[in-house]
């Protein structure tokens, strides 16, 4: 069993500097969970606490049913893929992948079998003798994954593994990660700041901000019903429009706004920026007309390419089901 439990996990560096404020989550065996958030939100710290690279100040972390707070990283049966790959520069690919197994004292044939199998899955068989500096970024990334796979751990930990790759490679590696997970079925915790990675890879995700878990749920659920203003503004590109309405905030996704006749308009904006993307057009402007709060919130609209778009007033409508309401003071979602 390789379920992972986070029970009210907290971390403080000094008495006044608390960075993780009570995160709790039960991750099922074989589940792929993404920890998503902006820089500084504590997502890497949380992951490193599961790995044993940071100590836990309060709360419990359990892997496979046993509490691991006091266990050294090597005793937790985990494997980690680092953002900068952390490959041993003076060792060949084969030696990098077999290092942990050699330390464990596994017999040579077994080591060889595991390395060859992982190399096969990751298409590294031709590179086993090379040193890391002779490899491209994508190849290094695969070696880092290979090193994790051969350990056959209970949990995979990924710390922003794709951030150092170029955009095209990132898309390709995302697909490879997905197929790898389907094939191996190992419980995985994946940290990223990229919401596209999160939406496509996660079975469930934790959205973090300032050391707190703002929402935990499946990607589409988080998208459809964001629990806080922060989550609403973080997921989606362009992010959800947040319009102040007295003591509440109205949230409307750019793709849910439709041009209409002025008379039916629920929202009127003054357009000042049009970005034709080819397939869609993004239109930016601010609220005008009655009902518009002071401050004239900025609004983004995603229109199909053929829709007329130009500077000037643009009347918009939306369906009642597409309204999201949040309490302005606490930022939390208000259910209707």
């Amino acid at each position: 069993m390789a379920a992972v439990s986070l029970r009210d996990v907290r971390k403080s560096y000094t008495a006044d500097l608390q960075v993780i404020h009570g995160v709790s989550m039960e991750i099922a065996d074989g589940e792929f969970v993404v920890i998503l958030g902006p820089s500084g939100c504590g997502k890497s710290t949380l992951l490193r606490m599961v790995a044993g690279l940071e100590t836990v100040s309060a709360g419990e972390i359990a892997i496979g049913g046993r509490v691991v707070n006091r266990l050294e990283p090597k005793d937790r049966d985990i494997a980690m893929v680092f953002q900068n790959y952390a490959l041993y520069p003076h060792m060949s690919v084969y030696e990098n992948m077999s290092y942990g197994l050699r330390i464990k004292g596994l017999p040579k044939p077994e080591i060889d079998a595991r390395v060859q199998r992982a190399a096969g899955i990751l298409e590294l068989k031709n590179f086993l003798d090379r040193k890391p500096r002779a490899l491209s970024g994508g190849q290094r990334q695969r070696v880092a994954m290979g090193r994790a796979i051969v350990r056959e751990p209970q949990v995979f930990l990924f710390d922003e593994p794709l951030s150092n790759l170029d955009a095209k490679l990132r898309v390709q590696m995302r697909g490879e990660l997905q197929s790898l997970h389907r094939r191996l079925g190992i419980t995985s915790l994946y940290v990223t700041h990229d919401q596209v990675e999160a939406m496509t890879l996660a079975q469930r995700m934790i959205v973090m901000n300032g050391g707190r878990a703002e929402q935990i749920g499946a990607p589409l659920e988080v998208y459809a019903r964001p629990a806080t203003v922060f989550v609403a503004g973080f997921i989606g590109s362009p992010p959800m429009n947040l319009l102040p309405r007295g003591e509440r905030i109205l949230g409307l996704r750019p793709e849910h706004l439709e041009p209409c006749a002025a008379a039916e308009a629920k929202l009127m904006i003054e357009v000042d920026l049009v970005e034709p993307l080819g397939g869609d057009t993004l239109v930016y402007g601010h609220e005008t007309g009655e009902g518009a709060a002071e401050g004239r919130a900025r609004v983004a609209v995603r229109l199909p390419a053929h829709a007329p778009a130009g500077n000037g007033r643009l009347p918009l409508r939306y369906g009642p089901a597409q309204e999201h309401w949040f309490d302005a003071a606490s930022g939390k979602r208000i259910e209707r």
Binding site: A51, G52, L53, E72, P73, K74, I78, A79, M80, F82, Q83, N84, A86, Y88, P89, H90, Y99, G100, I103, K104, P132, R133, R147, R151
Partner: protein, 293 residues
């Protein structure tokens, strides 16, 4: 050496390099050329006539038991200074890299001996190891060791090695510390996850990655032992007892200044030049190519 942007001037660059080139010519090349010249000549007893003798001075040196002994002494001295210096500083640097509290204090307290002149270092240790009144001598005698470096050649060697290493620890320590801190933390973490304990991590990951620094320090410490330790010897043993600490560079000085053997001393200088050139070439060709990871 190639900058895309250059200035053009017929005379300015010459003016700018003139001071350095002038001093280099007058005080480096001209004396070096003279040293070579003298090494091929023999002066008579009154210093009036000089006679070209080809390689005779060199031949004589290589037959001279004392010179060959000096070679041995220098080699022994260098090896001891280099290895002891490197081993001790590596240990200290590894420990300093580990501790979180007080790292800065340790660093400050360990690097100040760099400021001490080799000659002064020699005098300090000669004082502490003085055969009759030295405080360390006192402790040694209590433990049953008969310590008198004025009589025992190998003890004299130990004295100068200790003084030379003591001074050099801070230099090596700084470089090792910088080297250790340039190893990405994620490598250590990856190794920890892979199951390596601190000892294994050090020998299989850290030490190999430190090898450029180690090799560099090996060369630098050798150069130090060959040349910069003149002060240590002159301020303490003056090459003695007998020839026990008569390292090559000291012999050059002694034979030239005190024994007035111009030809022999010059020949020795020329040989030393070859040694320096070799060490410098090694340093620049093999060490300066910092391995890129």
């Amino acid at each position: 050496m190639e900058k895309r942007v250059v200035f053009r001037s017929a005379w300015l660059p010459y003016l700018l390099v003139a001071p350095q080139i002038a001093i280099t010519l007058v005080f480096f090349f001209w004396p070096a050329a003279q040293a070579v010249w003298y090494s091929f000549h023999l002066q008579d007893a009154f210093g009036l006539k000089t006679q070209f003798v080809g390689l005779q001075n060199f031949a004589f040196l290589f037959r001279d038991g004392k010179y060959l002994a000096s070679f041995k002494v220098t080699a022994l001295f260098s090896v001891l200074v280099a290895f002891a210096g490197i081993a001790i500083s590596l240990l200290l640097a590894a420990m300093a890299d580990r501790v979180l509290k007080g790292a800065l204090a340790y660093k400050t307290l360990l690097i100040w001996p760099y400021a001490v002149a080799p000659a002064v270092a020699g005098v300090l240790w000669a004082f502490m190891l003085a055969p009759s009144i030295g405080i360390v001598t006192f402790v040694l005698k209590k433990v049953g060791i008969d310590w008198n470096w004025i009589i025992h050649g190998d003890q004299a060697m130990l004295l100068v090695v200790v003084a030379a290493v003591w001074k050099q620890i801070s230099y090596n320590f700084l470089f090792f510390l910088a080297g250790l801190q340039s190893i990405p933390k994620s490598l250590i973490e990856a190794a920890a996850i892979d199951g390596a304990g601190p000892g294994r991590r050090f020998w299989t990951i850290v030490f190999p990655l430190l090898s450029p620094t180690t090799f560099f320090l090996l060369v630098v410490n050798s150069v130090y032992a060959f040349f910069d330790t003149f002060g240590v010897i002159d301020a303490t043993t003056e090459g003695g007892p007998g020839q026990a600490t008569n390292i090559l560079v000291y012999k050059v000085y002694h034979d030239g200044v005190k024994a007035a053997d111009l030809g022999g001393s010059s020949a020795q200088s020329v040989i030393l030049m070859f040694i320096v050139i070799t060490l410098t070439v090694i340093q620049f060709r093999f060490v300066e190519k910092k391995v890129q990871y």
